[in-house]
Symmetry: C2
Subunit: 322 residues, 2 copies
Amino acid sequence: MKLTDIYLHLRSDIVKIENELESHIDAEHPDLKRASSHLLKAGGKRIRPVFVLLSAQFGNYDLDQIKQVAIPLELIHMASLVHDDVIDDAELRRGKRTIKSKWDNRVAMYTGDYIFAKAIEIASRSNKQGVHDVLSKAMVDMCIGEIEQIRDQFNLDQSLRTYLRRIKRKTALLISVSCDLGARVANVADKERVALKWYGYYVGMAFQITDDILDFVGTEKQLGKPAGSDLIQGNITLPAIYAMEQDNWIKHHVTSYMQDPTGESPIKEVVNRIKHSDAIDAANKLSNDYITKALDCLEPLEDIRAKQALYDIAIYIRDRNY
Amino acid sequence: MKLTDIYLHLRSDIVKIENELESHIDAEHPDLKRASSHLLKAGGKRIRPVFVLLSAQFGNYDLDQIKQVAIPLELIHMASLVHDDVIDDAELRRGKRTIKSKWDNRVAMYTGDYIFAKAIEIASRSNKQGVHDVLSKAMVDMCIGEIEQIRDQFNLDQSLRTYLRRIKRKTALLISVSCDLGARVANVADKERVALKWYGYYVGMAFQITDDILDFVGTEKQLGKPAGSDLIQGNITLPAIYAMEQDNWIKHHVTSYMQDPTGESPIKEVVNRIKHSDAIDAANKLSNDYITKALDCLEPLEDIRAKQALYDIAIYIRDRNY
């Protein structure tokens, strides 16, 4: 099943949100337009608006109300991608730094700021209780997550706990907030809203863990970058954490690579050994546990089409292999 | 007269805001704390909170309400400084790029994002009409101003009009919004609020023009950087625009420098000739015109201490020489 088939019945609303996203970024400035157009063209799954729409279906579904949170949520996600790009331009590649021209980084940084501000401006039109609060708290936490990721890069002193906290802030939170705000703008009762919020959290955790697994087991063609890129860039994700616990050879070589990424280190071989280790199964198991918890959250909700869609999305995330 | 003497009667409230600024940035994360502490220690004049406080004195002055806008405004200003720093690290210096380590730029970028988000979070506590809206529109416009400045750098196709639009977005707007929001949280009547808002706009324009003049006429010691740094970095400000209109030698050499900043260009001599040209007087005249307009805005306001303080700040900005 394709992901988009799961929420086919919302297609026309998603298209409306898509068009409005474009109009917000398009209009005001030629430089901005150029700098952000690749993001819009790249498309993406617009998964955050989808969670907003689906969650809103448990209450008074009103697209105008929904837009006021769905568009900011997607814009915030896009802005964070723009800022990640600034960083990636300055990324270590096999121990060497490639730095794009100052011009591009500057435009990218302020374009990211602009999209953030636009998101806030649109959200400020909503008069629903808690919208601004929840959204701004999520932004604060996302930033802390990014800063934690920088701190943790090339840092061996990491545990499952620090990893989970990082991916919570980096990914799970915004998905959880998407469900929460979708429920809020539709005046969904608190009990159901909280269930949707936790569903989003668990699904988000599973999504990021799967992403981190795929970075090892995916092909270069599927990933658009070499397998093991996370580790090579100094990001120690769940498969690496598990593998280092189980295999001293891996632990030794990851350690020496993190201490000196420019030195002689069989990092490709390390990636390959992690890929074929039990760590992948263990990581998959944790992801599956999160999906199970996500499905449990759906239990008490009304049996509507949106519930089935949320169920199917969770299964899709569990089973996705690229 | 020292600037701080003008609003001495607000000192205890400014200290309270200062302390709260610190507590907001201090608490949550050690890396954030480190990255932003130099900003707080550097202090700054906290001129935006001062405008909020003074404007609020024309209505129901309530420090708790005021904080909800004064702190976000100062945080937004601080965040923009942090992001400017990221850029300045990658700045052209005499045609060569000095690039600080990736680490610092990354932390600075996400620290800026974090401070922006914090600002929004605090503002979201305010329930006053228009606060979120005005604040988020100001942020959007500030970002466009930054992007315009990037576009205009090393670009000779500039006029007085593009310059004024740029400094409006870069500087005048946030000061204008400080006055506007100070009035809003104190329920100042619309007519007075709009007067304060325009006062802030005119004062902000004059402030930036004076800043741009001082970049030419100030000493290296006063400025903390060589005179003419703006021009050397490719930013064509008002004195340069005027001087190029009046002096073909200046126009020729500015043009060739902008086209090839790494080439042989007597840019120091150009800076010196601008400094001693009529362009400085002409720029000062425009700044003074803005101050006159600012003072006119104050006319209809009630004769309270805050009115005198706003008057004195405008005169201070007109006469400041470093």
